[in-house]
Amino acid sequence: MDYMTIDGIKVPIEGEKNILSLIRKAGIDIPTFCYHSDLSIYGACRMCMVEDERGKMFASCSEQPRPGMVIHTNTKKLQQYRKLIIELLLSSHCRDCTTCTKNGMCELQSLAYRVGVHAVRFLNKKEELPIDMSSECIVRDPNKCILCGDCVRTCAENQAVGAIDFAHRGSKMQITPAFGKQIAETDCVGCGQCAVVCPTAAISIRTNVTEVWNAIEDPNVRVVAQIAPAVRIAVGDRFNLPKGENAMGKLVKALRIMGFDEVYDTNFGADLTVIEESREFAQRLESGEKLPLFTSCCPGWVKFCETKYPEFKDNISTCRSPMGMFSPVIREYFAKKDKEEGKTTYIVAIMPCTAKKAEIHRPDNFTNGRQDTDIVITTQEIIRMIKQVGIKFDALHSEACDMPFSMASGGASIFGITGGVTEAVLRHLAPDKDHTTLENIKYSGVRGKEGMKEATVKLGDKEVKIAVVHGLKNAANLLDSIKAGTAHYDFVEVMACRRGCILGGGQPVPMGPTTRTARMNGIYEVDQLSSIRYTDENPLIDRIWDDVIKGHEHELLHRAGV
């Protein structure tokens, strides 16, 4: 085994691509702003500089480990330089920390504290730039940008969108949409992955907390919450719960304390989606038209396809997303009661997703011209609301959701992870509903973290070719190969965010490797612990179908106008 020496510690080299990984392996948390293991190496922040035996300094992110190398990560000079670099960053940065949305979560703030910057010797002479509030999903505040470029690379490399890039040079450099446009004028799909990697509040989630509090405050409003599958395994992150733990019961209780009138599980909506999407898929397979069928649950993906690959628009399922199906059903369910009580139903969707904030305003998600979901708040926002109220979340006793939407299948719960939609649909379409079927589907190839997964499944006498992609760059690659005629599929599931909704743009950060694995395990555990694994075993579906949906399937469950 080859070794190198880091601060006197002998560290084995085990195929690490850079010295930085080895330093972290040695247990030293070397700071970085611009390094993310799943993005290309940028090397701009210079925080990860190290010094070798001869006093030569280099950035550890871009240097390959060599056997016998001896480096130091915390010499006096390095400490001095790191401090100066932070001071320089702070000197051109808006320093309204106490009122910043990222206060306490800001990497610049915490590193400044860590390296001991207690004074800034330079005046901030930067011209104040306008805040871009044009997007329903994210807010860009260029005054808080430290130009690490993480967002630029995420948007281009992982998402193949490229809505933002660098403009101007030197101290006038900015990250901006092309030609100084606003973000809403670009191809931004609202996935929020830029906000996930942003170390400061230069890109943050557009918050809608005030609207929710206003609705709760109003006695004439029936405030209904629906909670997406991926929220429950991430919400505990900020309340000292173990990573990935299912905190659905505590969240339901917290919402009731806050004043929500009804609390439902979006998984019920996912079960509706399974039924409708399976039906649609079976029809298309039968007719052989508009194949492959693309899933439509992910609004980031739908917008991406519409703007970048419009030729595939008709291949997208006409189904609304689980949230999009559930809201009109809830509204229809309360229609009579609302009239009797003189109330209006206000539907709050609690989502791991920033793009959902835009989805609810799409006309094809309206029923009879009315917006169905009133507001979307993300996991991060619901955490903030719980903290505002001062609820001791970790000490709460769990409670169940309200009837008649309190039950859902395990298949619905895995909608929150890549491959989940496909798995649920396959379960639904499988003729034999036994344990072996579950295991066969589980190991068919739809699970896992690879960006592009393929499976071939026998449905009846047909061999069905399935692809599952997550991360829009992988989607773009797949679409390109379909276009080129080199790939053929019948069913394609796309999630805009890597790993699916568990790492959505609205989820609490950071989302490092440990968090990712914990959330994945968490969401599969929800499925495993369900006594109902197949959508068609959900006893409540039939009731709602008969009472609410029957005869209105298309207007309630499918996108208007398609």
Binding site: C45, R46, L88, L89, F122, L147, R169, G170
Partner: protein, 627 residues
């Protein structure tokens, strides 16, 4: 022109071209470099053509036996002669007369006296210390030089490949293609220890060898013609004056490393270089010296020109390749190095213009010959652009290891106005300052980097006693600050802060703590910046701060600029003894700061004075001075 299909075809064409030159009775070379063009040399060319009965767009056509046809007179637009201070320049062969500061009106006399009768026009010859120098080669400016790379610059027509062929053009390519293997070519360059003339001084042969060894077979050769240092124009002169030499160098490099495509990255601010290169490439393509199966050797090569949009940072290798690819010109982290993953992610040889122009010489004459020139570790010559407070500004070429004294006093003719030499900024905004104690030290890569300076691309800005070194540092910092790409924090934020401090100092707002901060910032940038440009951005400040700290301290502590350059620190005063009370100063003052009674001394109200100097310029009695 018929495409050359074999080595024999090329030899035949060369023979014709040589014969044509040999048959010329009188050859007029009119400098059409950027400087002389601006001085009106095109008009001289047109006038000369008219007088000699020539067509201004005449192509070179070879008559029977390559006899020179009409009237045995040849007129060519040449590249830069280097003696820009004295332009526009006209050289007349076979007498080798160099006429300086020529105007179109002088043409008739030149025609009648020199071309018709072979006699010099005395008044147009260079004179120094009472001596007249008819022959160009005897002029001290040229006599002290060793022009190898620039040999043809000014001596051949820059717009005809036939001219280049007559003066050894493509001879080295011929030798490489037909009597050397690619490995042998790499070895000769490696053994010659030719070091990159773009600034770094990295071994060219080492780069080539590494590219040749890559597993990836698609390779590129790229020429860096993005010469961006203020006051530097070595590469421009080669591209304008002898473009084929550089192209030949690139062809040889491509042959050596197995590349079949090349790019020349040249600044768009060099329109003449771009057009001469385009002409040269088109002619080389037509002749079959660029293209498929060159001279039947089986070696193919295509050459493209990319125009840079004026970013200084695009002279940095990885920013340059990014720019060619159509990306934002920003340096990237290395490794991977350009030799491994350069242009389009493929192994790439990246050298600058002057480096490529050295290649044909080395291939023709061998590496041992090359080692006889220059110093042991920096063999060969180096071109320098000499500007600033010096009598003979211009472009020179000297062996590596020549001292600054020889350059400034022997070749450059000394400091302008007989003033005292103070310092020289070498290597442009990335370089450092050399002072009088450095005058006799050799100029080569290693001895300069030992002094914290660098040879850079070869810009020499000479400064005299009237130059304020703090202002010089501010000037260069302003340049690098503007040209920082903005990628890494130390360069983006650090240079901006350094500039702010320097502006404070020259405006009399500086503090002693700021001097320490300046040094702290400078060292941090030097050690932590991402690319070579960033790492060297602070060098002018660090080196002036080291050598001229007393001047900085005067600015800060005494609020005084000894040269009077920093206006905020100087005040204009009227000497009561010298003032005659004529009131001219008061009448010329734009802000009404001067008052007094006629025939008695006037005074300046310092609170109103804007230090424009109009009073001092207009005082007939030299009674107003800077204090």
């Amino acid at each position: 022109m018929n495409k050359l299909k074999s080595r024999e075809d090329l030899s035949a064409l060369r023979a014709k071209a040589e014969k044509r030159i040999a048959n010329i009775k009188c050859r007029i070379l009119i400098c059409a470099g950027t400087g002389c063009l601006a001085g009106g040399s095109l008009k001289i060319y047109e006038k000369m053509c008219e007088l000699c009965g020539k067509d201004t767009d005449a192509e070179i056509v070879f008559g029977p036996e390559a006899a020179h046809s009409d009237s045995d007179i040849d007129i060519q637009k040449s590249g830069c002669h280097g003696f820009c201070e004295m332009g526009p320049l006209v050289r007349i062969e076979p007498y080798n007369y160099l006429y300086i500061k020529v105007k179109a009106e002088d043409c008739e006399e030149i025609y009648n006296t020199t071309i018709k009768e072979g006699k010099p026009v005395e008044r147009l010859l260079y004179k120094m210390d009472g001596v007249t120098y008819p022959a160009q080669e005897d002029i001290p400016f040229y006599a002290g030089q060793m022009r190898l790379v620039l040999k043809n610059c000014g001596h051949i027509g820059a717009e005809h490949i036939e001219e280049s062929l007559a003066f050894d053009g493509y001879k080295a390519l011929e030798k490489a293609l037909f009597s050397m293997t690619p490995e042998e070519v790499v070895n000769v360059i490696y053994d010659s220890n030719l070091r990159g003339r773009g600034g770094g001084g990295f071994q060219t042969g080492y780069k080539w060898r590494q590219v040749a060894r890559q597993a990836e077979k698609t390779r590129y050769v790229v020429c860096n013609g993005d010469e961006g240092d203020p006051g530097a124009f070595m590469d421009r002169s080669v591209m304008e004056g002898d473009p084929h030499k550089m192209i030949e160098g690139m062809l040889i490099a491509a042959y050596a490393v197995g590349a079949s495509e090349g790019y020349i990255y040249v600044r768009a601010e060099y329109p003449l270089a771009v057009s001469r290169l385009k002409t040269a490439i088109a002619q080389a393509e037509e002749a079959g010296l660029i293209g498929d199966d060159i001279l039947g050797s089986g070696f193919s090569f295509r050459l493209h020109i990319n125009k840079g949009a004026g970013a200084f940072v695009c002279g940095e290798g990885s920013a340059l390749t990014a720019s060619i690819e159509g990306e934002r010109g920003m340096p990237r982290t290395k490794p991977p190095r350009t030799v491994e993953q350069g242009l389009f992610g493929k192994p790439t040889v990246l050298n600058n213009v002057e480096t490529y122009a050295n290649v044909p010489l080395i291939i023709l004459n061998g590496s041992d010959w090359y080692h006889t020139i220059g110093t042991e570790k920096s063999p060969g010559t180096k071109a320098f652009a000499v500007t600033g407070s010096i009598n003979n500004t211009g472009l020179i070429e000297v062996p590596m290891g020549t001292s600054l004294r020889e350059i400034i006093y022997d070749i450059g003719g000394g400091i302008k106005g007989g003033k005292e030499f103070k310092a020289v900024q070498i290597g442009g905004p990335s370089g450092g300052c050399l002072i009088s104690t450095d005058l006799d030290d050799p100029l080569d890569f290693d001895s300069l980097s030992a002094k914290g300076a660098m040879i850079g691309s070869g810009g020499l800005v000479i400064m005299d006693e009237d130059t304020c070194m703090v202002e010089v540092a501010r000037f260069f910092m302003n340049f690098t600050q503007n040209e920082s790409c903005g990628k890494c924090v130390p360069c983006r934020e650090g240079t901006m802060r350094m500039l702010e401090i320097l502006e404070d100092i020259v405006n009399g707002r500086g503090t002693m703590e700021q001097l320490d901060l300046l040094e702290e910032l400078g060292n941090a940038i030097k050690d932590t910046a991402l690319c070579g440009l960033g790492k060297s951005a602070a060098l002018p400040v660090l080196s002036t701060l080291r050598v001229f700290r007393d001047e900085y301290e005067e600015h800060v502590r005494d609020k005084k600029c000894r040269t009077g350059t920093c206006k905020a620190l100087s005040s204009y005063v009227i000497s009561p003894e010298l003032c005659k009370g004529c009131s001219k100063c008061a009448r010329n003052c734009p802000v009404g700061a001067i008052s007094g009674q006629i025939k008695s001394p006037y005074t300046i109200d310092q609170s109103k004075c804007i230090k424009c100097g109009a009073c001092a310029d207009n005082c007939p009695f030299k009674a107003i001075s800077i204090a």
